[in-house]
Each structure stands twice: as structure tokens, then as C-alpha cells.
């Protein structure tokens, strides 16, 4: 670990301790009430005056919500699919998913409810911009990049599980990347937001990742410094925390983007006391013809986020390699048999 990383870890630890010791004072807004403020809910402030986003949140109920607008909703606006219609869609998605799991194996009734409840899902799809709910077209160079990556993989002479290095960063307990680390999965969808003067920290349950986001306006790291979760810088725009992340690594890059030009802009806004809206704009002129944005609510849940020490016993990885060797052997024997 470099000195810089060590210093960051130390600072993060100190900030975490500070943040947990400081009692969460529910300081109401210091602005004078206006007509707009009366109508709009105003988030509480931290003792040092930042909008207070702190708490444990989850987006489990957004599991099963497609990223892009399904064709059946063509010509319709996301905000118009609500009420009874939305409830019916979510209830049907839930029912089918539960039935899929039950099959002949009889999962006990109700196991799903506390753990993964799709009926609370808040929207019919995730992309809010462009308004048609679709990812903009790829630039020609992005299509070429994706093809080159696929060809390099094919021509490497490597199978899907020759070594642990052939497995995904997720299988290997390394990272789900950005924005992957906050995309809802069937479990592990808890996030804890902690604030201290000049910093916001996000703890991700799955994989057990932590982002420490400085708010002091310092420039991004040099272009040569790249990381899986990128280099994040935050600032406040009104009550919204805006986090801009760049400096990604090639491995695990989001949707085949160009790691040198991908800029992910997240907006965290506490819209009501128990909800933070998470909005993500994907900017990469080397990949898409226009930026695009998806969003979803993060809803408060009972904390704290329990430790998900992913490397504690990742026997699955070993078993995947072992399964692949067994398949190799079976294929070899079958070839011998056919040869005779």
C-alpha cells in the first residue's frame, strides 16, 4: 500500500470515528421559510451545515426494474406509469419471480417478503434521460472497441475459467465497479452514507467496498492513476450532492466504455426524510452519441450494514475452477471415445 493510500485510509478511519461520535443533530434549515420551502420538504443539516444524507439505505425493491424502457411502453412517459398500473406490473414481476424460485423445490411461503420485495418498486424502468428511456446509440469507435475486446478474449486461447483471472471481478470479490456497486441485486443491497466536514463516505454492503469522496474542490488524480471505482470528487449544488468520477481502469469498465473518457456524475438528493434519490449520468463521448441518465430511490432501512467480508470464504471461486476442470476432463474423454 502506498503512503498516499495509507494516509487516505487513516483519514477515512478518523472521519468515520468522528462521524459516528457526533450525534446526528436534526438542525432545521437556516434559510428563512418561503412559500416554496413550505411546499417542498427541506432536508436536515449536519452540525457543520451540509445537507444531511446520512443513514442506511437500500434499493432492493428496485431489483427487477429494467434499465431501458420496455417496448410495450413506447410513446409513454415514465412518470405517467404509476398508481394501479405500476402496482400491477410490480406485483406480477414479484409473483413470477417467486414462482420461478419455488418450482418443485417448495421454498417456504413468504420467505421473499422481508428480503426482496419487488412490489415496492417505484418505477417501470430506470433511464430518465433521454426521455425515450433508451441508451443512446454507440459511437462507431465504441462498436469497434467492443468487437476488439471480444476478439482479444476469443484469440487469447483461454477458456472461461482456466484460472481465477478469467473470472469476473465480481466472482473474485474485487468489485462491482461504478455504477455497478449500487445496482440492485438479489441480496446485499444496503448502503451506508456517512458525512464529516469536507467528506462523504459511502459503504457498500456487497463486496464490502468503501468510497471516500472529498468535497474540497481538489483536482482529480493524474490521468495515469486509475482505479476500479474511479477517482471521485464531490460538491454541493443546493441540497444535492454531486459526485463526479473519472480515472477508471479498463477491467470491469461500465458497458464497454472508454476508461480514459468515462465520466460518471452521480446526484444524491434527499427528497423526503426516508429517501435519497440516486441519479447517475453516464458521459463518454467516445462511447455514446449523447450522455444518458438513470435514477432510482434509495430508501432508509434499519442499519447498520453488516459486514460482507467477501474474501472470508470465497469457496465458490475454487469450485468454479474445479467444475471447469471436470468439464475439460469429460470433454477430453468424450473426444477419445469418439476418436476410437
Amino acid at each position: 500500500m502506498s503512503h498516499r493510500s495509507l494516509r487516505l485510509v487513516t483519514v477515512a478511519a478518523a472521519l468515520w470515528i468522528t462521524a459516528t461520535l457526533v450525534s446526528p443533530v436534526s438542525a432545521q434549515t437556516r434559510r428563512s421559510p418561503t412559500t416554496a420551502a413550505v411546499k417542498k420538504w427541506t432536508p436536515p443539516r449536519t452540525p457543520w451545515g451540509d445537507p444531511d444524507l446520512q443513514g442506511s439505505f437500500s434499493n432492493t425493491s428496485e431489483n427487477g426494474t429494467p434499465l431501458e424502457r420496455p417496448e410495450i411502453f413506447e410513446g409513454r412517459k415514465l412518470e405517467d406509469i404509476k398508481g394501479e398500473e405500476l402496482v400491477a406490473i410490480k406485483r406480477e414481476a414479484q409473483k413470477r419471480t417467486v414462482e420461478n424460485f419455488q418450482g418443485p423445490l417448495h421454498a417456504p411461503d413468504g420467505w421473499w417478503q422481508p428480503d426482496l420485495n419487488m412490489t415496492k418498486g417505484s418505477q417501470a424502468w430506470l433511464i430518465v434521460d433521454p426521455p425515450n428511456g433508451k441508451i443512446p446509440s454507440l459511437m462507431p469507435e465504441a462498436t469497434q472497441r467492443a468487437a476488439a475486446r471480444a476478439a482479444a478474449r476469443r484469440n487469447s486461447g483461454r477458456g472461461p475459467a482456466d484460472s481465477w483471472e478469467d473470472r469476473s471481478l465480481y466472482d473474485r470479490c474485487i468489485t462491482r465497479g461504478l455504477p455497478g456497486s449500487m445496482m440492485p441485486a438479489i441480496y446485499g443491497n444496503s448502503y451506508q452514507i456517512l458525512q464529516a466536514p469536507g467528506y462523504v463516505t459511502i459503504v457498500y454492503e456487497m463486496i464490502h467496498e468503501i468510497r471516500v469522496i472529498p468535497l474540497d474542490g481538489r483536482p482529480h488524480a493524474a490521468a495515469s492513476v486509475r482505479s476500479y471505482m474511479g477517482d471521485a470528487r464531490g460538491h454541493w449544488e443546493g441540497d444535492t450532492l454531486v459526485v463526479e468520477t473519472t480515472n477508471f481502469r479498463d477491467e470491469g469498465i461500465y458497458r464497454n466504455a472508454n476508461p480514459a473518457t468515462l465520466r460518471v456524475v452521480e446526484r444524491f438528493t434527499r427528497t423526503v426524510s426516508d429517501t435519497v434519490k440516486w441519479s447517475v449520468t453516464i458521459n463518454d463521448p467516445a462511447t455514446w452519441i449523447a450522455p444518458w441518465t438513470f435514477s432510482m430511490p434509495l430508501t432508509k432501512e434499519e442499519g447498520p450494514v453488516l459486514e460482507y467480508a467477501c474474501h472470508e470464504g470465497n469457496l465458490g471461486l475454487m469450485n468454479i475452477l474445479s467444475a471447469a476442470r471436470a468439464e475439460d476432463k469429460a470433454a477430453e474423454e468424450a473426444a477419445k471415445k469418439n476418436g476410437k
Binding site: 413470477r96 423445490l105 421454498a107 466472482d171 474474501h311 469450485n319 474445479s322
Partner: protein
């Protein structure tokens, strides 16, 4: 008509959104090797990213075979009602699951039936490609 539309929508939403779990079921387990194992709990490893239940299964000749059953992560099991007390060593359980592809005595657990008949859902991987999920 309305019902049909909704059913179609449900199917559409599901196919459009992959169910993510820590690793893909099909890389590790064989959907064609469903097993039902009756055994005595030797120990439970409450570890991440997946918990493992170790059970001793009595063979026809009276010998014991140790099986390892992959479960969901401890956090999920807790939310589904599992506790340390639900799976103490020494109790007899019935496990339904899928055996590993390499033929070892390991299986992906789906559900566990306790001596009192209570069932606990173990499912650790979504989108398994298991026969009943591809229908």
C-alpha cells in the same frame, strides 16, 4: 385483455432484468443433478460471500459422507429468518439442492427442512438456469 397485458409485462420485465447474485450458478453447479440429502448437521460456517452448511449423510452401508451445502450470504439468511439457533450441530435436516459439476460432495442448497418441519430458504444464486427457471 388487461390481465393478458399485465402478464406479458411481467414476463418482459423479468427477461429484461438479470437477477444478479455473487456468482453464476451454472459455473459451479449442475442443474441436472438435483439431490435430496438427509443428514445430521456437523457445523455451519457463517461466512461470506456464501455461508456453508456441513452435513453428514448416512450411506446404505452405514458409513457417513460429509456434504457441504452452499447457502446465501449470512446477511440474507438472517433476513430470511435463519439464526445460529436454527441450525445447531447434531440436528437432522433434509436439504434439497443441486450437486457441483465436478462431482464432489458439494451442493447449492435451495431449501432446508428442520426436524419440526419448518423450512428455511437457502437460495444463494439467482438466474440459475435450473430446469424450473428456464420454463
Amino acid at each position: 385483455m388487461r390481465t393478458i397485458t399485465i402478464v406479458l409485462l411481467g414476463a418482459l420485465l423479468l427477461t429484461a432484468a438479470p437477477v444478479w447474485a455473487h456468482h453464476a450458478f451454472a459455473a459451479e453447479f449442475d442443474a441436472n443433478k438435483q439431490v435430496t440429502l438427509k443428514g445430521t448437521i456437523a457445523k455451519m460456517d457463517w461466512i461470506n460471500p456464501h455461508a456453508w452448511l456441513h452435513i453428514d449423510v448416512k450411506e446404505a452401508d452405514g458409513s457417513l459422507t460429509r456434504w457441504m451445502i452452499e447457502l446465501g450470504p449470512p446477511n440474507s439468511l438472517l433476513k430470511r429468518g435463519w439464526t445460529k439457533q436454527s441450525v445447531p450441530a447434531g440436528i437432522e435436516v433434509t436439504v434439497v439442492g443441486y450437486q457441483s459439476k465436478d462431482g464432489a460432495k458439494r451442493a447449492n442448497g435451495r431449501d432446508i427442512t428442520l426436524p419440526n418441519g419448518k423450512q428455511l430458504f437457502a437460495g444463494s444464486s439467482g438466474g440459475t438456469g435450473a430446469p424450473y427457471e428456464t420454463k
